[in-house]
């Protein structure tokens, strides 16, 4: 018996939708994404179907710029910690706005270490002895989290594209974190 093309199509998009739900649930469980990402999806509609893609793309561009800045600043002879703090603050904000929870948390940790660099207020402190080292470690951590979520988001959005191409509808996510 021949399985009709339409049936296969429905089957195909159903599988994709299930994959999508499983994949996104995992991301929420692992804390890579939080409820804010769902808020973004809620803002997507027929007149703005690419909203999430646009915001996420902006996030990638902006984050890359900030990470480059941070690397450059840390490379300098006299590290400008205020500049570092400002940049990390920015990244914290943007990651929070798209729901990239772990990136945001890594930024918060980074900033608390940066605060410790302010010799005047902390006086003698372990971190003061190796400030650049600590900041570099923090930067590594932020970069790692960023690349991870970037990877996952790209995969997620690709799945969405596939679902739509297969004639399906992207399921509404629930925050299971």
């Amino acid at each position: 018996m021949e399985i009709g093309g339409e049936y296969l199509e429905i089957l195909g998009s159903s599988i994709l939708m299930t994959d999508y739900l499983e994949y996104s649930n995992a991301l929420f469980r692992e804390g890579l994404l939080d409820g804010q990402f769902i808020q973004l999806q809620m803002l997507r509609d027929d007149s703005n179907p690419d909203f999430v893609v646009e915001v996420v793309t902006l996030f990638f561009e902006d984050s890359q710029r900030i990470l480059n800045e941070l690397s450059k600043t840390l490379d300098e002879q006299n590290v400008d910690f205020k500049k570092i703090d400002a940049n990390v603050h920015q990244l914290k904000g943007s990651s929070s706005s798209i729901g990239a929870q772990r990136v945001r948390n890594a930024c918060i940790a980074f900033r608390s270490f940066c605060d410790a660099q302010d010799v005047e207020s902390y006086g003698f402190c372990f971190f003061v002895l190796f400030p650049d080292q600590m900041c570099l470690r923090c930067l590594q951590q932020v970069k790692q989290e960023y690349l991870l979520v970037k990877n996952k988001l790209e995969a997620l959005l690709r799945l969405e594209q596939q679902i739509v191409a297969a004639g399906g509808v992207v399921p509404t996510l629930n925050d299971v974190s």
Partner: protein, 234 residues
């Protein structure tokens, strides 16, 4: 543009130095059927509002209906708190200190993890209507309309001597004893709208001093209580 917002569409000016947050707030506002303009700094916001740093030139024109001065009417300003150069707080102050701009309701957004009570208090003290924690949600944006409507109502009272829309009286009867009370009636109308707003307000705004309310309507004095209606004695 002459009078009040055309076709009931309110125009919001959003100020944020983050490109992502600008995109987000724009979408949030448009979803709520507001017209939106976004700028990336406080100085650009003031420029857009038609403020040229010279209050003298403002006073030379009628300061009662600010609509005449702005090229485009802005019904609310929503601004990020933490911005390089002019902070949201600085912008708030400039707006509230300007006879030309101070009727415009201002809302502050802050990305601080634990919003300092001092920060939010300062902003509300200075006349901000709301203090939102970022990331801003649709439920936050839903709180904006009453502020814009109240200001529009106040402007109507000032310009026309009576509220344009009698239906805005939320609470039952208002007992009047003659002409002297018509002013009180207008005050009560505006007050009832404000009280409705503050009742609906989820934020724990301990301080609801609203500097945007005109000086003539002193909210701190004896507030009429609507639950137990009594005849106002003159």
């Amino acid at each position: 543009m002459g009078m009040a917002a055309t076709d009931d569409q309110f125009h919001v000016l959003a100020v944020d130095d983050s490109v992502i947050d600008r995109k987000l707030i724009e979408r949030l506002l448009k979803t709520s059927s507001f017209q939106v303009t976004t700028v990336d700094s406080g100085s650009k916001a003031l420029e857009f509002l038609g403020w040229h740093g010279n209050e003298i030139s403002m006073f030379s024109e009628a300061s009662i209906s600010p609509n005449n001065h702005q090229e485009v009417e802005v019904n609310l300003v929503i601004t990020d708190y933490c911005m390089p150069g002019m902070t949201g707080y600085d912008l708030l102050k400039k707006i509230k200190e300007s006879a030309f701009l101070r009727d415009i309701p201002v809302v502050i957004m802050s990305s601080e993890n634990v919003p300092s009570r001092i920060t939010s208090y300062r902003c509300l003290e200075e006349g901000a209507e709301e203090f939102f924690l970022k990331p801003v949600k649709l439920s936050d944006v839903n709180k904006l309309r009453p502020h814009m409507m109240r200001t529009k109502l106040n402007n109507d009272i000032i310009e026309n001597g009576k509220p344009e829309n009698e239906e805005k009286q939320e609470n039952g009867e208002i007992i009047t004893t003659g002409e002297a009370d018509s002013e009180m009636q207008q005050f009560q109308t505006a007050q009832s709208l404000q009280q409705q707003t503050s009742q609906n307000n989820n934020n724990n705004n301990d301080n609801n001093k609203r500097k945007s309310m005109e000086e003539g309507l002193s909210p701190d004095r004896t507030r009429p209580r609507y639950s137990d209606l009594t005849v106002m004695s003159n």
